[in-house]
Amino acid sequence: MARRDVDVLLLGREGNARFVSGATRLWLAGTRPFAPGCVVVRETGAVHLMSVTDAGVPAEVPTRQLYPMSWNPANIVETVSAIPGVSGARRIGVDALTPLFEQLFAARLPDAELADGEAVMRAVRRVKTQAEIECIRAAISVAENALGAAVDALRPGVRESDLKGVFEERMCRLGATTPAFEGAFCVVDGDGRVRRFVSDRAVADGDLVAMSAGVLVDGWEGSLARTWPVGTPAAEHHDRRARWQSAWARAVDRCRSGLRVGELRTTPGLSLHGVGLGYEGLEDAAVLEPGTTVQLELEAAGVLGGDTLLVGADGAELLTAFPYGPGEE
């Protein structure tokens, strides 16, 4: 905050709030409109949190730093403005905004200039500590176990939607009740684009099924993508896998410290973004540095595969270790 000349951060994005507070709040799917649910004051170093209770809130955020939720944006702005250090702030970082909150801030905090708080948080969150990497590993372990349950269920007659249910049931049995995203468990038709929404289609012997799924464990994301055959793989499956594998190996090899993200994104079918406390944005101009964790996914030859990579000084370490197909390590 000091380096970016920001006096106060008003954070609405849950991942940002979780990063600074460590708090677990109720998980809801989808985007949420901006409201300042977490406040960081540079002058006092204090983190304040919108929560009616301390359940799920670490002891480092004492109850006097909790403020109640409200349906009235004017009340929220009033409460937040009363936090020590906020009303005197010159530059306030917000991670998103709505026209209504912009108006209310202007009226209540007329001397403050609004700055891009998301850019501040992105920079702070990008390089992971060892402890954070362990959290990601723990989440990946749950995701891999749950994907294993889906692969075990991959028999003729099972519906795509059932596979999604099997994945989430196993995830919950392992103690995590929040998916990182709605899993895809979709039969691949020809060389066409892999579907991302499951249907009630039953898989048949000889089908290839593209699976992409993830979990959040204490907010940390573990996710991966694999394409497996139903029954015994045909020669055509081996051929596709081989084509995917060679493109994949090249992409992984390029994913090392010093690479500009935009360069890798020119590869057809490839997606790359940061991963940690959920999805983390990586701009095209970002340069990978040691300690960055990224989610790399490649769709090629009707095969979808993806892993979590930890960027090191000499290449990347695969944090995911699930087999790419039957009989593989």
Partner: protein, 383 residues
């Protein structure tokens, strides 16, 4: 009840937005919130954690000239079939200045309404006249069409059926996480398109003072899921919600592990009386304030949670207008006049400090002369 026609539903919603834009003199609505995009276009994106949903968001631009909406999305398979191909565009990454500039370039001149900014979008629209689209959209969303009501009914039905599969498992020794697993598996078997909220199985303390800390001094709910095993006699407040064709369900009930006793049944009866008092006054022309007063009549404490509401609407958001009994205040409630097509999820709370309490949810739609249940469960939720 109607034969569900999704294309008609989308057409009618779009018309409402166009008419509202026209009436407000706004050239376009620029919608970034996923519930807003679901409403305006019917385009589907995968249900995802908030950060992923933000980065992979679909964006809708609805113009006041009545032309078909434009949608910018990575998930073209989620776009309704009737949308012209030249109105379906690749996603624009408004988390970055380049993407924000692309979006700014396609907006018509003059005032526009926007629901939320990313900071790069805020920067490129700095010199534009931008109204808040949330209120504008809320005015469209608050009254549901017959097709929308049918979507909510179906979402609710899947949610309730899944709970029927879970209820027998609620016994001493089971963990809330296992119940979540059984629930999530079942909703997808039953055809849900997504899960919208981490299922809640909260064990309530007998007294508020038994903790956890309460900033309001009143009952704390909800708290995060834990791995705690349920024990006989635990009073568990359940709350779940799923998605069907963009519409949310909401199912809440109270379960006493090992079976309820007379005092629990008494609380459930009092909860029923509160909801019935509200339903007695519920008809077009009544205000949200009338519901608030009906709920409070004869009660020694306010019978709902002060940080939440007596009732809320539901649609493409799991809680939307009409909000009843919030800290928006009684004047707001009195000004909110109920009309046919509005949906209300009542969630009062009966609390006897020392004996915990009872909370459940009941979902109805306002009709021309009263209300109808959107729940398939006779007589509302079970205790």
């Amino acid at each position: 009840m109607v034969e569900l026609d999704l294309a008609r539903m989308r057409r009618e919603r779009h018309r409402k937005i166009v008419d509202t834009l026209d009436a407000e003199g706004v050239g376009a609505a620029v919608l970034l919130g996923q519930a807003a995009v679901a409403y305006a276009v019917g385009a589907r994106s995968p249900a995802a954690d908030a950060a992923r949903a933000a980065h992979e968001r679909a964006i809708a631009v609805v113009t006041s000239d009545g032309d078909a909406p434009h949608v910018y999305t990575s998930f073209s398979e989620g776009v309704p079939p009737e949308l012209p191909a030249d109105h379906v565009h690749p996603a624009v990454a408004v988390e970055w200045p380049e993407g924000a500039a692309v979006l700014a370039d396609v907006l018509p001149d003059g005032p526009v309404a926007l629901d939320e900014y990313t900071m790069p979008l805020h920067a490129v629209l700095r010199d534009r006249e931008v109204a808040d689209a949330t209120a504008l959209l809320s005015a469209c969303k608050v009254v549901k069409t017959a097709d929308e009501l049918e979507c909510i009914r179906r979402a609710q039905s899947i949610n309730e059926d899944a709970m029927l599969a879970v209820e027998p498992r609620v016994e001493p020794g089971v963990r809330g996480t296992e119940l979540s697993g059984a629930f999530l598996r079942r909703i997808f078997e039953l055809g849900a398109t997504g899960n919208t909220v981490d299922p809640i199985w909260q064990v309530m303390p007998p007294r508020i003072a038994d903790g956890p800390y309460s900033a309001t001094g009143d009952v704390v709910f909800p708290t995060p899921t834990t791995n705690r095993r349920l024990a006989a006699g635990d009073v568990v407040w359940v709350d779940t919600g799923i998605d069907y064709e963009g519409y949310a369900s909401d199912f809440g009930c109270t379960v006493v592990v090992g079976g309820s006793e007379a005092r629990h049944r008494d609380q459930a009866t009092r909860w029923r009386e509160i909801v019935d008092r509200c339903l007695d006054v519920l008809k077009p022309g009544a205000s949200a304030g009338d519901l608030v007063r009906a709920a409070q009549a004869g009660e020694s404490r306010r019978p709902w949670l002060p940080h939440l509401y007596l009732a809320h609407g539901i649609g493409t958001n799991s809680a939307e207008m009409p909000l009843v009994g919030t800290d928006l205040g009684i004047q707001f409630d009195d000004a909110l006049v109920l009309a046919p097509g509005m949906v209300l999820v009542f969630e009062p709370v009966v609390w006897d400090d020392g004996d915990a309490g009872f909370r459940a949810e009941e979902i109805v739609a306002v009709t021309d002369d009263g209300y109808e249940y959107l729940s398939a469960r006779d007589g509302g939720p079970r205790g």
